[in-house]
């Protein structure tokens, strides 16, 4: 593809310096540093904002769960990804339970308690240590390996933040997609038959 990406700022919350949706400044720094160890370039792509945006999804209205459609504007059409889709009552129940945990709330515990992502992050970040962001890379990697379950969770989210649509917070300036020469979302342009069928 020779066509240049057209980058449109999808939203304001993660680039205006007004603060984070969920993490404290210290936690934000630890997640930022950890993502940078997991995926080179994650810091520059602001993958930490993807994680912060997920854990703090309900700080926005509509909650930042499902980006809109049908087009991002990067390949023509109006930019609709930034208009997040409102949740139904049941959608909100599911996503609050997944993110916040069940917290003893009966309607979230119809099949038993659920540990939320926020709690898993708070525990995981505590295990990495408050000095993680300022530790040397070797120490950081040692701690990540020692906290295997949390690192696995963080890596999943780091991959999503690095290679997902930038409207979710990561992949800023399309650095994730550009680093792997992936075109990203392509509607409404799509690909020509030649681009599909030829090397």
């Amino acid at each position: 593809m020779t066509e240049q990406f057209r980058y449109r700022e999808p939203s304001a919350w993660h680039c205006t310096g007004v603060g984070h949706l969920f993490f404290s400044d210290d936690e934000y720094a630890v997640v930022d540093a950890a993502c940078g160890r997991l995926i080179p370039g994650a810091t520059e792509a602001r993958v930490v904002d993807y994680v912060d945006g997920l854990l703090g999804a309900f700080a926005a209205d509509p909650p930042r769960i499902w980006a809109g459609g049908p087009f991002s504007g990067r390949r023509g059409g109006d930019a609709g990804f930034g208009e997040f889709i409102p949740l139904s009552k049941l959608d909100e129940l599911a996503w609050r339970t997944r993110i916040e945990g069940s917290r003893g709330i009966a309607e979230r515990e119809f099949n038993g308690p659920v540990v939320g992502l926020q709690e898993r992050y708070r525990d995981g970040l505590a295990a990495l240590g408050t000095d993680f962001a300022t530790s040397d890379p070797e120490t950081q990697d040692t701690r990540l390996r020692a906290n295997e379950a949390f690192t696995e969770l963080l890596y999943e989210h780091a991959c999503e933040g690095m290679y997902g649509a930038p409207e979710y917070g990561g992949n800023q300036n399309l650095l994730g997609w550009q680093s792997i020469e992936f075109e990203g979302d392509v509607q409404p342009r799509g690909y020509t038959d030649t681009e599909v069928s030829q090397p």
Partner: protein
């Protein structure tokens, strides 16, 4: 119940005949404007996070889990969560499918007669109808959904009364390589019959090859999801579509269904009366509803079938950009027809015969999915850039025929509930030696095609694989998204749940119009066949006036 391909097809036929229809859909509506059904919504997008990670098309496994066990030895269940879930949304499974819409072959309806019995565990039976009975409805289904294909390309195809409504779309680059290699080894690849417009069709545009096809809703509505029949039904003014309504019970008085009880989005219970109740909620939710309603036929939920997927992938020197195009553009059917080699392998496995399924030529196109396969650390970016597991990978998925067994079933979990408080569907499932032996045999033959293609390495896996732990993509739980057989069709009420037109033997004004009625699974995706059966059932209702 259900606005997917089966329910939409029935609604289309019944409203065209002047009947009034209410369509209950458990999921949300992201497909069309209910105030003006001619207007399609813009919620679908090229968004890997939304569609493959965050359950946009539903169901959310936190709200509506299912449970799974291999046998009673696992206790009440061994796993709670996503069990081969199909979308729960207006349009149902048609929304997320990449739209391979093949017909069955003649012998798919007569396996027992053609090939003979297997063993005591295999509940093999012939269908109570033939391909010839269904052919006119296959043709209708292809027109209704909009299927692109080449009628002369597949030497194994059954006869057909006319051409496909559209010619095939552009072949994917990887498929041109694998098809050529397969041909050199004597196989017969052909353009996959695909429910994605290759030209403008029925008021919707041609597919533009964006590649976000399997598991995604189509942003430009070029895909043959059930939008066309659903739109037509709603535009008659005789159909109401009620999203976010969960039907909890089919009410029956003196052996006649009188309507349903349902719960709306606010959690309020209502009832609706009806002369006819059509169940098209899929082969897990349809038997679940029957069981929740107190229907007692002993075979409800039995003979559950998936497809046994054999996935063989190869690493290539060149990039093949599997993310461009409509996910699968070529398939071959050779492994559905036993040959000398397969017969020998079957005998070696202690079976009188086996066969496989349609083979999809395909590659992985999603970068997040790929990224999670590599280790974290310094080498990550190089791995992603070299892309051994995406851009340089190509291979095959065989949708292997899954032998029906009485013990493979859906019933109600004794402990796990959905968000509304109802018992969830529990799957008890274990593979038969038929599909295991077929997978071993054909997997090696598929790897040989990749060798011929120039692959530097090959790897084979299956779904399900009982040796893997629960929780991953490959696990004891099938991930085929093809679910069939839980209200088996037949003429004998003691050996089947519904008659050849989908009517419950016990309560004939309840009609099943989804893949629950399948007697065998064949080796083909079920959608076109279930639509053809639904059209046939609906036309029979109209003609009988009942």
């Amino acid at each position: 119940m259900g606005s997917g391909p089966g329910g939409s097809a029935v609604a289309d036929v019944l409203t065209a005949a002047g009947w009034s229809v209410v369509i209950f859909e458990k999921g949300r509506n992201h497909l069309l404007d209910l105030d003006d059904p001619s207007r399609l919504k813009g919620d679908y997008s090229n968004d890997e996070i939304k569609f493959t990670i965050r359950h946009f098309l539903g169901p959310d496994p936190l709200l509506e889990p299912r449970t799974f066990r291999r046998s009673g030895d696992d206790g009440d269940h061994a796993f709670v969560g996503d069990v081969n879930n199909l979308p729960s949304t207006v349009g149902g499974g048609g929304v997320h499918a990449d739209g391979k819409l093949p017909r069955f072959r003649l012998d798919d309806f007569r396996l027992l007669d053609e090939h003979g019995p297997l063993d005591d565990e295999a509940a093999l039976a012939d269908w109570p109808l033939t391909y010839d009975d269904l052919e006119p409805f296959y043709a209708d289904a292809e027109r209704v959904v909009g299927v692109a294909g080449d009628a002369d390309a597949n030497p194994f195809a059954a006869w057909r009364s006319g051409p496909y409504p559209m010619p095939p779309g552009a072949p994917m680059y990887g498929a041109t390589l694998s098809a050529a290699a397969a041909e050199r080894l004597g196989y017969h690849p052909y353009d996959a019959p695909t429910g994605a417009n290759s030209v403008p069709y029925d008021g919707r545009p041609a597919c533009n090859n964006c590649g976000f096809c399997a598991f995604y809703g189509c942003p430009i509505h070029a895909k043959g999801d059930p939008v066309a029949p659903l739109q037509r039904a709603l535009l008659t003014g005789r159909a109401q579509l009620r999203p976010e309504t969960f039907v909890s019970k089919v009410t029956v008085t003196n052996g006649v269904a009188t309507g349903v009880e349902y719960i709306d989005a606010e959690g309020t219970t209502h009832s609706e009366t009806a002369r006819l109740v059509v169940l098209a909620a899929g082969a897990m939710e349809t038997p679940r509803l029957l069981l929740l309603s107190g229907f007692e036929h002993p075979l409800i939920g039995r003979h559950l079938m998936f497809h046994f997927q054999t996935i063989v992938m190869g690493g290539l020197r060149q990039r093949v950009h599997p993310h461009r195009g409509r996910a699968v553009t070529h398939v071959h059917d050779d492994h559905l027809v036993p040959d000398d080699r397969s017969r020998t392998a079957a005998r070696d496995a202690g079976l009188p015969w086996f066969r496989g399924g349609m083979v999809e030529h395909c590659g992985p196109g999603a970068p997040i999915q790929e990224a999670k396969l590599y280790p974290w650390g310094e080498a990550h970016t190089r791995s992603m850039l070299e892309s051994a597991l995406r851009d340089r990978m190509w291979g095959f998925t065989m949708q292997g025929e899954d032998m029906p067994q009485l013990t493979n079933r859906v019933d109600l979990d004794p402990r796990v509930r959905d968000v509304r408080g109802f018992p969830v569907a529990r799957v008890t499932y274990a593979s038969h030696p038929f599909e295991l032996a077929a997978s071993d045999h054909y997997g090696a033959r598929l790897a040989a095609i990749l060798d011929e293609m120039g692959a530097e390495w090959t790897v084979a896996t299956t779904s399900p694989d009982a040796a893997f732990p629960y929780g991953g993509f490959i696990s004891p739980i099938p991930q085929s998204k093809h679910v069939m057989g839980t209200t088996r069709m037949g003429t004998d009420p003691t050996t089947s749940v519904v008659d050849p037109f989908g009517r419950l033997h016990d309560v004939p004004n309840v009609v099943v119009a989804d893949s629950s009625v399948f007697v065998t699974s064949s080796g083909y995706g079920p959608t076109l066949t279930l639509v053809a059966l639904a059209l046939r059932a609906a036309r029979a209702l109209v003609e009988s006036g009942s």
